[in-house]
């Protein structure tokens, strides 16, 4: 079950691509969007965790297909934009697209199965995702947004810790070879 990173005959990384049961990616992505919307009803603590981003990262590093990651991240981001009345369509879409693409690309190069690696990966992608959003806000919408804050750091840590457990749960949805 665990991902094995080996060196092929040509010296290129021989990466094991994890496959999922049909509909898993779509279902989990939708559930992530729904849960994110539902959890917001129960208070500020729900904003600490970015479920759609976690799903984007997970399927990106698991599928290791940049095209899939790109479209999945973009779709989830556009859904987030569409479901939020304030954001113009494309704000989260652009960030999700880039994160999905990068996660798929990185997943094929480094070990993303270890919990600590996942923790660091989620933490970095969280801030990268946030940076793209802030940049988009500042450049396109001319809205002053802060790149960093203590609350943002706290959110990233919580999301990273939660993501490690979520990734372990999502590993069970993988189709065995």
């Amino acid at each position: 079950m665990a991902h094995m990173l080996t060196i092929g005959e040509r010296g290129e990384p021989n990466v094991e691509v994890h496959k999922f049961y049909s509909g898993t990616i779509l279902g989990v992505s939708l559930l992530a969007l729904v849960f994110q919307a539902l959890l917001h009803k129960y208070g500020r603590w729900a904003e600490w965790i970015d479920l759609p981003l976690l799903v984007t990262i997970y399927f990106g590093v698991s599928r290791r297909n940049p095209v899939t990651g790109l479209f999945l991240g973009g779709s989830i981001g556009i859904f987030q934009d569409a479901l939020s009345h304030d954001n113009p369509i494309g704000m989260y879409g652009i960030a999700g697209t880039i994160v999905g693409y990068l996660a798929s690309s990185i997943g094929g190069r480094i070990d993303t199965e270890h919990p600590l690696a996942r923790l660091g990966l989620i933490f970095i992608f969280f801030h990268f995702h946030q940076a793209i959003l802030v940049l988009t806000h500042r450049v396109l919408l001319l809205q002053p947004e802060r790149f960093f804050s203590v609350n943002l750091l706290l959110d990233s840590v919580i999301t990273a810790v939660f993501g490690v457990f979520l990734f372990a749960m999502l590993d069970r949805l993988r189709r065995s070879n």
Partner: protein, 337 residues
Amino acid sequence: MMLLAIVVLAQLLLLAFQVKTDHSVPLIRYWAAAIVTPLERGGTWMTSGFGNIWKGYVGLRNARAENENMRSEMQRLQLRNQELESQNAEAQRLSSLLSFHDTHTEVQMLAAEVIGSSSDSSSHTLFINRGEKDRVRMNQPVITPEGVIGKIVEVFPHSAQVQLINDPSSGVGALFATTRTHGVVSGIAGSGPHMDYVSNEEKVTPGEMIVTSGEDKIFPKDLLIGTVESANQSSTFQVITVKPAARLDRLEDVIVLLSQHDLEAKKSDDISGAEAKQKQAEADAAAAAAAASQESAANATAQNGGAGGPGGSAPTQQSTKSPAAKPAVKPAAAPNR
């Protein structure tokens, strides 16, 4: 990489279009809402349902725990209430004894607590927590503010045995409060106290009060013993059942009269005071009414020509204190047996 650039660029253009024209993209929002909203509705329904079930479960558990707590609290309070009622009853009894003692300062008396009773069901005796050390002696009267209950028959250093007036071997010189007809109140095995040696000629009505006569040299005169419960004619003497004034089966605190002086009637005295006289007046009124009713019945019989028959005999006249009617104190109840 090229694909990424195209997709990002497309979204940037879409974003720029929205910002420039201040138009959103309603179709995308509509589709997104159409896809996600039913799931959200289902999720809300499930979470609220689960929340309700959880709340109900927790509430039920809390209610059960609360119910058990309240039940134990109620039992504790019931016990406490019983304890307080017992203390209240004891305080009333002691207050009654104290009041009685205060109204009869001329008589030396001693309050005592009932500590036990006889193990023999046929005898009616009890033990009190006062004895020879407390100047308790044989044949001293034992009373309560309600009435006479018995006399001391055994004295121990720190306790004494009291023979109740309903004991078969007991005997108390008694008389009716109104007619002053004498008799002896004694116990009968398996029954309540009776008043003996009252001739059939004496008119006795239920409710009539019976007091001590003082002839037995034990009980002071005019202490309330009880009332007539029933009176029936017999061969020589009437069979008169006495209802003791004191609750002989529920005695807890009693008074031992250390001296033989007669008790003077006081206003607050239950045993020989105004209340007794009032009860006696009520008994007299009842007796008068009964006599009037009997007389009218006799007149009616005479008018119907029934006079002189077996059932038409003249009613017995109420006798006064005749020497023949005066009973002797029952030998078994003699003070110095």
